[in-house]
């Protein structure tokens, strides 16, 4: 066994260029993984536009879809933060309900709307703080911690409201919060946009936000990079709690009355939106724009179901299917793309 001929027959003078043009080649699987969810939204919009050309693709219906997205969008974008940092928050729905009740209760007692809204947000932030401290100080798994804190929140809610809806006696200004319009658009759309911009900047353009992403990516590496992991963890729960409060107050303002479990259902739709959104543009990472796309996709679907005149139960079928398809396809695609 002496030196073989390959040594000479394969000249080593032309090493493959690691930065060659081949690397720019578009991998169809990677494309599907990144843009699949967006394509679903696009196809949905086109299909419904064809199916209901008179009612769906109109300005008023677009405003309607966005308006219906707003409340879910705000709470879901907040929930994105714990998910980014690799945590879970099961308490956001209950927190939203509590904060709606707190705001309504303050209005009943004659406090001004601004103050009621602010106190509700502080309460939401406080619930988040408690979540964060239980997770970091006691070391309780986030699923368990937020389930426990969430249950306590439900109890406190009943304590405050005695289990009955809190109805504001003179609700005009309160209701105006969601029904009022500026430049032809309902206020909730502005709240959604404003929250979106604020949270996007927080996540992508601040030291704290980048630290959250680092902790979610690899907590050990983050700590060894000098990131104060526990602080970051507490902060993500505070953001989620605060956003939940906004959704809770807006929900109560729709009818001028806050029920003790009114916003509980937002938990599941928020989670669904976040997970669907993790398949948008990124390889399975949670991010604000993805979450927004997730919320809007669901809203478009619900809107279409209503316009076409299908039963409400189709909404559930649609949402479940969307979640599984969106996440499933992108997961498969990612596996194929990486090889």
């Amino acid at each position: 066994m002496t030196e073989t001929t390959q040594a000479t027959s394969r000249p080593s003078t032309t090493p493959p260029d690691p930065v060659g043009p081949a690397s720019r080649r578009l991998d169809p699987w990677r494309f599907l993984g990144r843009y699949g969810a967006l394509i679903v939204l696009l196809v949905l919009v086109v299909a419904v536009s064809i199916a209901a050309p008179d009612t769906f693709p109109t300005r008023s219906n677009l405003v309607n879809v966005l308006n219906q997205s707003a409340l879910t969008a705000v709470i879901a974008m907040g929930l994105t933060f714990p998910l980014v940092a690799g945590e879970f928050d099961l308490s956001v729905g209950y927190t939203a309900s509590l904060c709606g009740v707190i705001a309504a209760e303050l209005l009943v007692h004659g406090y001004p709307l601004a103050l009621a809204f602010a106190v509700a947000m502080v309460a939401g932030a406080f619930v988040g703080l408690v979540n964060g401290l239980v997770v970091t100080r006691l070391g309780v798994n986030a699923l368990v911690a937020t389930l426990g804190v969430g249950t306590i929140v439900v109890g406190m809610n009943y304590l405050i409201a005695s289990g009955l809806p809190v109805t504001v006696p003179d609700p005009t200004t309160f209701i105006n919060l969601t029904l009022g319009k500026a430049l032809g658009l309902p206020y909730p759309i502005y709240v959604m946009a404003g929250t979106g911009v604020l949270l996007w900047v927080l996540l992508n353009r601040t030291v704290s936000g980048q630290s959250m992403q680092a902790v979610g990516g690899n907590a050990v590496a983050a700590r060894l990079s000098g990131i104060r992991v526990d602080r970051v963890r507490v902060l993500v729960f505070v953001v989620a709690g605060t956003a939940a409060a906004v959704t809770g107050v807006l929900l109560a303002s729709r009818t001028g009355s806050a029920s003790v479990n009114g916003a509980d259902g937002y938990l599941l739709s928020a989670f669904a939106a976040c997970f669907f959104g993790s398949a948008v543009l990124r390889d399975g990472q949670f991010h604000i724009i993805g979450t927004l796309v997730g919320v809007v996709t669901v809203s478009v679907g619900f809107n279409a179901i209503a316009l076409i005149g299908l039963g409400v139960y189709y909404q559930y079928l649609f949402q479940g299917l969307l979640l599984i398809l969106g996440v499933g396809v992108s997961t498969v695609a990612r596996r194929r793309a990486v090889g």
Binding site: Q6, P15, R205, T206, A214, V220, S225, G226
Partner: protein
């Protein structure tokens, strides 16, 4: 290991001996995205042959192994077993062909005993899927007996030493009548004695007509054990050399594709740079750190040698604030130093490049930009502006890529796609941006190919010349040649600090084992 008994076991007379070679690989190609990981590779392995597969990280060794193991499918080329074309679409296919793989990570279940681990997946497809536990156990005991394993087979794997775990993996392969065993960096954490033992086993396997594919960065060992050495570079076959036809220097050149600069020691900085930057006095953190005294000078590279478990990594973590000392004092630049965490250590100018680059260093999903910036997010914004500037982050990453010669498509590339050496450079780049006055490196070149290794040494030397005090933990005694002084740790204490000029491999080994060297 006196008796050459049938290690490969009582296999039924398999495919005839006169058929083609045990394994033949023809024109194998595989690409990932835009990277050509394998490019028309040929390879032949005879029965009873020990063939070494060497190459830099990213040369294609792992891809080749993955294709053979049925974990990846090749784009082109064929694999022949006993001269007949073989289809390997799954690990089960590979096992059925008698191909067995011992990966670096071993893939054992820590809570299971040695026997339980060996039994995992064994005899699948037996009647009703029920295992005859007694028969499996008997088989495991028999195989381990042939390997002369001298540890209890009913001990949980997590309580076994690294080499014992490796033996369990080998036993697992032999239980499945492996005819070809591919071993990936088997000796990475072995002691010399364990390496000798492994080599004896390999010789016996070969004597039993088992083919061994031996993958390693340790060139001396490769030259020692292999009948034939095959070199891959950039996914292509460079060549194969029979025993005795290639020496270490030539082999290194073939792997790198260029001449490698020889390691030269930094002059010990005893003479001039006398200011001490870091002082440790009686630093303790039981059980591993038991009273360490040490001085690190400005601009010196101080090596820390010692056996695995001597407390080196644990000491590094204490200095970096990742763990708190229970006793003792530290001084940094003449001032008291008791960091509350890595964040404070970094602020004070101490940085640690951790041992486990994948689990402790990198965010594999994130870009080079993100990974470089992680420890210095504050520097990505101007003092008057509250928001981070992505442009600053990118510029910093580009600077690091250029300065550290990181090979990548772009700074937006995920670090998970980079080779080991480039990954390590990214981690180094992150901590360099903290502008440390003390840089600790824990095994900086483990799993890094020869070429990148040389560059990492160049970087370390450059830092020291610029005045940084460098603490370099290393188990590779050759590598300690770049140090001015070497501190030897044993059982949680620094027992000796010697001038690297006097630190021969033998002398250091003696000191690590506490055999007081007289030479």
């Amino acid at each position: 290991m006196s008796s050459v008994r049938a290690l490969a076991g009582d296999r039924p007379a398999g495919p005839s001996q006169e058929a083609g070679p045990l394994l033949e690989v023809r024109g194998l190609s595989k690409h990932y995205g835009g990277t050509q990981a394998l490019d028309g590779v040929d390879l032949t392995l005879q029965r009873g042959q020990v063939q070494a597969l060497v190459g830099a990280n990213g040369a294609g060794k792992s891809t080749l192994v993955k294709v053979l193991a049925g974990l990846e499918r090749a784009d082109a080329g064929s694999v022949l077993v006993d001269g007949a074309p073989a289809t390997i679409d799954s690990p089960q296919d590979a096992t059925a062909l008698g191909l067995s793989f011992i990966h670096q990570e071993l893939h054992l279940v820590p809570k299971f005993t040695a026997v339980q681990n060996m039994a995992l997946g064994y005899g699948q497809g037996s009647r009703l899927g029920f295992l005859d536990r007694r028969a499996v156990r008997a088989r495991a005991v028999e195989v381990m007996g042939r390997l002369q394993a001298d540890f209890p087979l009913d001990r949980e794997v997590e309580r076994l030493t690294v080499s014992e775990r490796w033996m369990v993996s080998l036993g697992r392969s032999l239980m499945r009548d492996a005819r070809l065993i591919a071993m990936d960096e088997p000796t990475a954490s072995f002691t010399d004695a364990e390496v000798h033992r492994l080599f004896a086993l390999i010789h016996e396997l070969a004597a039993q007509q088992v083919g061994v594919l031996y993958i390693s960065h340790r060139l001396d060992e490769v030259i020692d054990i292999a009948d034939e050495i095959t070199v891959l570079r950039n996914g292509r076959l460079v060549g194969s050399w029979g025993r005795g036809h290639i020496d270490r220097d030539r082999l290194t050149t073939e792997i790198v594709g260029a001449e490698v600069e020889k390691l030269t020691a930094m002059p010990a900085t005893t003479a001039t740079g006398h200011d001490v930057v870091l002082t440790l006095r009686g630093v303790e953190r039981p059980p591993r750190v038991r009273g360490v005294d040490l001085e690190l000078r400005r601009g010196e590279i101080l090596g820390i040698a010692g056996l695995v478990g001597s407390g080196r990594t644990e000491l590094a973590r204490v200095v970096f604030g990742a763990d708190r000392p229970t006793a003792g004092t530290m001084q940094l630049g003449g001032a008291a130093y008791a960091p509350k965490g890595p964040h404070e250590a970094i602020r004070r100018g101490v940085a640690l490049v951790p041992e486990e680059r994948r689990s402790q260093g990198l965010l594999l999903q994130e870009s080079i930009v993100f990974n470089i910036s992680m420890a210095t997010l504050d520097r990505n914004r101007s003092s008057r502006h509250p928001l981070l500037s992505p442009r600053k982050a990118r510029t910093a990453a580009r600077d690091a890529v250029e300065r550290l010669r990181i090979t990548s498509h772009s700074v937006a590339q995920s670090t998970g796609d980079l080779s080991g050496g480039n990954q390590q450079k990214v981690v180094v780049g992150r901590y360099l941006r903290t502008a440390p006055s003390v840089l600790i490196l824990d095994e900086p070149t483990v799993g890094v190919d020869v070429g990148a290794r040389g560059e990492i040494y160049r970087i370390i030397k450059g830092l020291a010349e610029a005045g940084t005090g460098v603490l370099m933990i290393s188990s590779d005694f050759d590598e300690l040649a770049i140090c001015g002084r070497v501190a030897v740790m044993r059982e949680g204490r620094v027992t000796h600090v010697i001038d690297a000029a006097h630190a021969t491999k033998e002398h250091l080994t003696q000191l690590c084992y506490s055999l007081e060297g007289t030479g």
